[in-house]
């Protein structure tokens, strides 16, 4: 059974001809109704993700990748179709989501872990591992505002890896930092994959897609135009973005 079953998902946004965002604007234009047009972002998207599979979603900017991930994560509601989640999902759509530069590393681990769905007990139990993986034990009581961007990103990765449930959903996020840290991230990632975790990954980088993914999907104007091996999809994606024939 697929851990994730996306069936005929469609999504539109209603775009008004005039934006009114205040009570005052609505009151002043009470008798001037707005016209709306539907902007179709996704249409008939169907695919399955199997246990242990790593699937990449590629596509040009504005093709609907992020909207699709948000629907899968449950942040947006689909207009039509179904997303059947047969396993726990950890969506990481932004690295270090929720962190606060005025707090130290320990408090930020609590904050980021809680946002990713960990219980306080799980965070407490994993604190040493998280700080060790991020190589930040000596700086645990230092406020995040004094960290370099690389150190902060390492902490965010360490929490994210600790919070992984059965399915990991990643939006344009892959290892940053020095070579040693990138290698450790890749090792941890391969271990997760070997342990049966499924990954849904949005990326523009053919190297990442061909190295880590079993399968890839090419999204164009809100529909799936190709579902094939990473190599073939990367080739088609490059042809699309460069306009080559």
């Amino acid at each position: 059974m697929a851990v994730l079953d996306v069936r005929d998902v469609a999504k539109s946004f209603r775009i008004p001809d005039v934006h009114r965002t205040t009570v005052r604007e609505h009151a002043l234009a009470l008798f001037r109704p707005r016209r709306f047009r539907d902007l179709r972002v996704l249409d008939g998207v169907t695919f399955q993700l199997a246990r242990g599979e790593t699937l990449a979603i590629m596509g040009r900017n504005g093709c609907g990748k992020s909207t699709l991930l948000k629907i899968i994560a449950g942040i947006y509601a689909a207009e039509r179709g179904h997303v059947v989640r047969n396993a726990g999902i950890t969506p990481i759509l932004e690295l270090g989501l929720g962190w606060n530069p005025e707090l130290d590393a320990v408090d930020n681990v609590y904050l980021m872990g809680a946002v990713l769905g960990l219980t306080l007990g799980e965070i407490r139990a994993g604190m040493d591992d998280i700080l060790a993986f991020a190589e930040l034990r000596p700086f645990a009581s230092l406020k995040l505002q004094h960290y370099s961007s690389g150190m902060a990103a390492r902490l965010a990765y360490a929490v994210a890896f600790h919070a992984v449930r059965e399915v990991l959903v990643l939006d344009e996020i892959f290892a940053v930092g020095d070579v040693g840290f990138i290698m450790r991230c890749q090792e941890r990632y391969r271990a997760l994959s070997a342990a049966g975790h499924a990954v849904l990954l949005v990326s523009h980088d053919p190297r990442i897609v061909t190295t880590f993914c079993h399968r890839a999907i090419l999204l164009e104007a809100g529909t799936i135009v190709m579902d094939d091996t990473p190599e073939r999809v990367c080739k088609e994606y490059l042809r699309l973005v460069t306009g080559a024939r």
Partner: protein
């Protein structure tokens, strides 16, 4: 439409998230300042001293005026602070709603937490103030006061739930609410006794939620009287109506909150 089989956060994860948001918010707000949490208490205390100095010339004939004033002011301060923070709660943490999946009400509840902590401390201060003034409230009075506080919190929760999602669509609601709060300070009988207003207007003043809470709290804590069963029923209905409307508006609008950010 989405179907979830094992994706929802466990109650332990949700309570952990609320606790973490409250704790870190409290830490960020008060830790960097000299005196920390004392600043949160200083505002209503300073207001009390100023208003006491000014209005005691007018209402000085009433020996209980200072007790009425401190109860009114502190309870009002909670209402004003908690509703203001509740209203902007989803917008203030929009980066979370737009990128993570968890119940949005968690943000609304945790936003009012600082006002709630302050309320807890000032309630103790009110009881101490009354005891020092020779009007120590009994267990029944304290119990009823607690009941009114619970209803007060439910009213603020109902308002905050509705206002937080409406604010994402109407971005000047916070300015309108600021005006309402300023006017509301004088609609509620905080600095003046309700008795100076003609009785035929009392019903309308009681529709403004802080009025019954403040009046009932004064009755049980200062006057030693218990409001009638009818008055209690009025407050219970007002609480339920506000909470029900708040829950309904939130339930309808919250699922699409992320699309308005």
């Amino acid at each position: 439409m989405s179907v979830t089989r094992s994706e929802a956060l466990s109650p332990a994860a949700v309570s952990g998230l609320v606790w973490t948001l409250v704790r870190t918010d409290f830490k960020t707000r008060y830790q960097p300042t000299v005196g920390g949490f004392v600043w949160a208490l200083l505002k209503p205390f300073a207001m009390f001293l100023v208003l006491m100095a000014v209005f005691s010339f007018i209402f000085g004939g009433d020996p209980a005026y200072r007790f009425h004033l401190i109860i009114g002011l502190f309870l009002w301060d909670f209402f004003a602070e908690a509703t203001k923070h509740g209203l902007v709660s989803l917008q203030a943490k929009s980066y979370l709603i737009n990128k993570a999946k968890f119940p949005a009400w968690v943000l609304v509840i945790s936003a009012a937490s600082n006002a709630l902590i302050t309320l807890g401390v000032v309630c103790v201060a009110i009881v101490v103030f009354l005891a020092v003034g020779g009007r120590a409230p009994g267990p029944l009075a304290c119990g009823l006061f607690l009941l009114y506080l619970v209803q007060y919190i439910l009213i603020v929760t109902g308002f905050s739930l509705a206002a937080s999602v409406l604010f994402l669509r109407y971005r000047d609601l916070n300015q309108l609410w600021d005006v309402a709060i300023q006017a509301g300070f004088f609609v509620a009988p905080i600095v003046y006794p309700l008795s100076i207003i003609p009785e035929r207007f009392h019903f309308f003043l009681y529709l403004w939620p802080p009025t019954p809470i403040i009046q009932f709290a004064r009755a049980v804590l200062v006057e030693g009287t218990i409001p009638t069963a009818r008055a209690h029923a009025f407050l219970a209905i007002e609480t339920l109506v506000i909470l029900a409307i708040g829950l309904w508006v939130f339930r309808v609008l919250a699922p699409r909150a992320a699309e308005y950010l």
